[in-house]
Symmetry: C2
Subunit: 666 residues, 2 copies
Amino acid sequence: MQSRCVQVCIAGANGWLNRLDASKSKVQSLAQSSDQKFQTGSGDSNQTTYGMKNRNQKELTSPIQDFLEELYRENLAVKDGETATYIPELAKANPDWFGICLVTANGAVYEVGDTRQEFTIQSISKPLVYGLALEDNGREATLKKVGVEPTGDAFNSISLDPGTGRPRNPMINAGAIATAGLIAGKTAPSRFKRVLETFSRYAGRELKVEDTVYRSESETGHRNRAIGHMLRNFDKLTGDPAPKTENYFQQCSISVNCRDLGVIAATLANRGINPLTGKTALRGEYVESVLSVMGTCGMYDYAGEWLYNVGIPAKSGVAGGVLAVLPGQLGIGVFSPRLDVHGNSVRGIRICQELSRRLDLHLFNPPPVGTSAIRLKFTGAEFGSSHVRNLQDDQILRESANVIQVYQLQGNLTFASTEPVVHDVLENFKGMDYLIFDLRRVLSLNESAGHLFHSLIIKLAPLEKIIVFTHHEHLPLLRHMLKAKLKGKFDEQFHAFGDNDLALEWCENQLLEKFTDTRVTANRLKMADYQLLHDFSAAELAVVQPLLTSRAYKRGHEIISAGDEAREIFLLARGGASIYLPGEKRHRLASFSPGMCFGEMAFIDGAPRSANIVADTDVECHTLSLEDFTQLGKSHPTLKIKLLEHLCLDLTRKLRKANRELSVLE
Amino acid sequence: MQSRCVQVCIAGANGWLNRLDASKSKVQSLAQSSDQKFQTGSGDSNQTTYGMKNRNQKELTSPIQDFLEELYRENLAVKDGETATYIPELAKANPDWFGICLVTANGAVYEVGDTRQEFTIQSISKPLVYGLALEDNGREATLKKVGVEPTGDAFNSISLDPGTGRPRNPMINAGAIATAGLIAGKTAPSRFKRVLETFSRYAGRELKVEDTVYRSESETGHRNRAIGHMLRNFDKLTGDPAPKTENYFQQCSISVNCRDLGVIAATLANRGINPLTGKTALRGEYVESVLSVMGTCGMYDYAGEWLYNVGIPAKSGVAGGVLAVLPGQLGIGVFSPRLDVHGNSVRGIRICQELSRRLDLHLFNPPPVGTSAIRLKFTGAEFGSSHVRNLQDDQILRESANVIQVYQLQGNLTFASTEPVVHDVLENFKGMDYLIFDLRRVLSLNESAGHLFHSLIIKLAPLEKIIVFTHHEHLPLLRHMLKAKLKGKFDEQFHAFGDNDLALEWCENQLLEKFTDTRVTANRLKMADYQLLHDFSAAELAVVQPLLTSRAYKRGHEIISAGDEAREIFLLARGGASIYLPGEKRHRLASFSPGMCFGEMAFIDGAPRSANIVADTDVECHTLSLEDFTQLGKSHPTLKIKLLEHLCLDLTRKLRKANRELSVLE
């Protein structure tokens, strides 16, 4: 243990998350005073923290882990408050137990102290059961039975609305018992089974009831039984109130540890999906309701100050647990049994306050969303498809493809992040005929963003401006919404491609059709039509032609395979061919039309073929072998010079394009 | 008006922001019933909405504008509630006035209806004056005079804490009068001047007091005067309470319009900075406090339900204004004088509810932050600096530069968005010797993110792993924090470059020093050391050498200028040279060491020079003119073939590098 302590002391001296403007001395003296306690206290505990594990593997500890350990040490000396005594079982808790666990909405877990010590969840069960009640009954029916207004009264007050008998909110006992009565299920055991399964999904492990606590709760729970009967009197419970009250005792007696609280909190932060298991514990639409009642009623008669000082929706339990949720970001679990007069864990409150202050977590203090949804914006003239075009088409596209506008979007598309995209499109739509929305880096899209895209489509369609989506498959809501809203025009107005390259190529082809009357036909080219031979005289062609070998490939055939020795250069006579990275059939690097050459780079530098070239259609081509090319230097040096100059030109053109595109992406 | 109405009806029929699961018929019938009203009602008003202006200019209207108009039409028929009558001036309001304004934290303004109609701000002044009181006194001193707990009482209740006489919160009149007493200034007029200036900064225009309302408030304000004396009795006001109460009457009588409310709300959403003027109306650190009291106490005895249903901190005024703030995202202003029994604008509440529901704005329902702070991650082997190296160095870097790791970061760096970056670094640090954090696309960085970077530096420094920042100038907090925290080690441990290219080059040079014993010296190269001539025999060199012209350039001299005709290719003999885009001195495209050639692309394809090449040091080079190169094909075709083959090789190498880098960035 000694070495661990030394490391923690070093971290403490660095004081990395103390404010610049705060005095360091306070932190250091706290660290020293709690030093000894830390050694003995941790020596007693039987669980392994991540921090310890990392050190044993000689990994670097995370600064976030260091910070939690610093917080832990600083608060070990805090001994204010008393453990709950209203039932004998809770009074048995070791008042010194102390654990902190922080879990991000991505599922990164940081924990320190007694995070594997089991204790009963108590009132922290209330928001979770409320969520299940919402799923079972919907918001409206639930609100008829239980309100959502904070009350200045204590946790065990009866607090029924004088007129309706409706409990003021689901965080006081009366509201929680009424909520327990809303859980679907024919029998008390079947209802509780659903509650326990739900809690287990939140925690990501199978939870159990702590029977001694449950019996103790049940034996002493006369006040809560009285509440049950009062609720029955006002028809806020139906049938016999006793089994519902019993269900309430059971839900409070579910055993969890501090790490569970962190994971449960992170599940709420992650829209109801447990970030470790990927399983849904609460339907996303109800998360905001659960967090709202936590935000206004979660810390008993302390709601205003809690939101003011901490700004994180939270719920405490009398066994010493505190669960706090920063929506979209992270969850916090703290466990320390000593309670203040409100019934909240003293250290739990301090830790939440410190975390909020030192990590800038206050919910009302987020950074502006900014225009960060637009990752990159470029035109088809700046960055074209990988289709290698002939000089004429290339020239047309260089001059006209600026009507193709690509928006590379990113992050979470919500109203506020999508608004700047819409704004930008509407400011610039006159110069655009094709808008490509690349959604590859979009993490999520909500309905209001979907509506905005739909609006853009119907606004731009009459102006013959086309919207194309790429990489939209991971956002099924978009297609679903557009299909529902565009109705019969969906097939005509919804354009989508697997990637940008295909979308760009499609837009380019549409443009070229407008600009060129005669398209390249499927007829075989004449020799002088090949780019590599384009100004060769008949006499020169008569020398070169016998060196060329004709080859034919069926569609799908691999013309060149990665790793092969490069023995020839290819001139494409008929059909189309594309380059793909080995193993990535879908990622096209380039494609070629008749007249173009391919396979020239390995031909030049002698490296093994670096990619596969596949026949997109039935293909005919001519090959010039390395031997014949070498030989040509001796027999007809002028012709070899001409071919090399053409190769240089071809490479220069490609390099200019690549450099242009690099400057767009950088 | 007719054509505008038709357009709005079309937008209504599209119903773009109606939920997919909601029945459309309700919306359409509402639209039809309010149709006539819309024509006459809008005809009366004298202001121009953005929507109208856009149409006159034949621009496309924004779908967000359409949506606000739809909302406006839907709610025109809502005539519930009564205008305030407690002072005669308010009773004069036209109950049909109705305006909606939405302003994003970026400063995009959308408005519909009577958004330029002036009215008095009334209670909406309370959070703004509270913010000024916090700036003047700090949080602690302010909390001693006014609490932050919600109360179930009405807006004009006295609600002083029984023990301390402290008003429960600053949103009730008692709390607001106590808050007015906290404003710094020697005289009542000087205090009010500061209030008015502050409000004007929020609104971005010079606001004035509506004198008739002020006189009316003052004449009838006996209840508020009583409150003033009660506060004086409990020492929550000092000195004569009368001028403080008078200040309160004045602040309530400041005249605003609906658009002002939207801009004020957006200013609070944008951390206190008016997004239209860029001026600070409230120091960012106090924004969370102002929004907290709005969140729990802003809508009188309706706080819990408001947060539950709408989930946006808001404040209403009895003249019919409602201001709502979605932190980091947007502000909403609504104006409609008919009030419900709580004193809140009926339409104002409906509009906020609809906006929240249909735009998914509930504060507790944000999308997960995700790992979106990492925009791109690549190694120095995948993407190198633009320094064109000789073959040997190139090979070394291809094999070893994977210890250079670039993290391109983006968005707002907060604890939750930076945690995944730290996590990734600590998972992979063993394979990294150099970490480049590219901050170009980072919008903001808060202290907790700064602390995490500091922690990484001090953790990695003992392992001789170096952290390099690029593009950090727009985030002065980072350098400031690191300077304060690294202290004497700052100069040694803080590495920063203007861009990635320079950082990559620096890391590559450090790597090359480790790998190569003999560095290229400043001595002049031998002819065979030039890449273009590297396997030329003495006899071949004897032919080529006379064709080369020696040239010398002073440091800073432009060797090649963009637009020039390309008459020669350059072989660099001594010193260094770099390519810059014309007009962008700082953006380096490539740089060259002795032995390399440059200017080859325009030499090959005959295009005008596309960039400037500048001597980084005093430079000596050799040039080969186009005429001599052409001539060489006739006199010594074998040598020209050899030169062309070398050029092809050089181009192929550059194209391979560019393609590799494109695949990294794509």
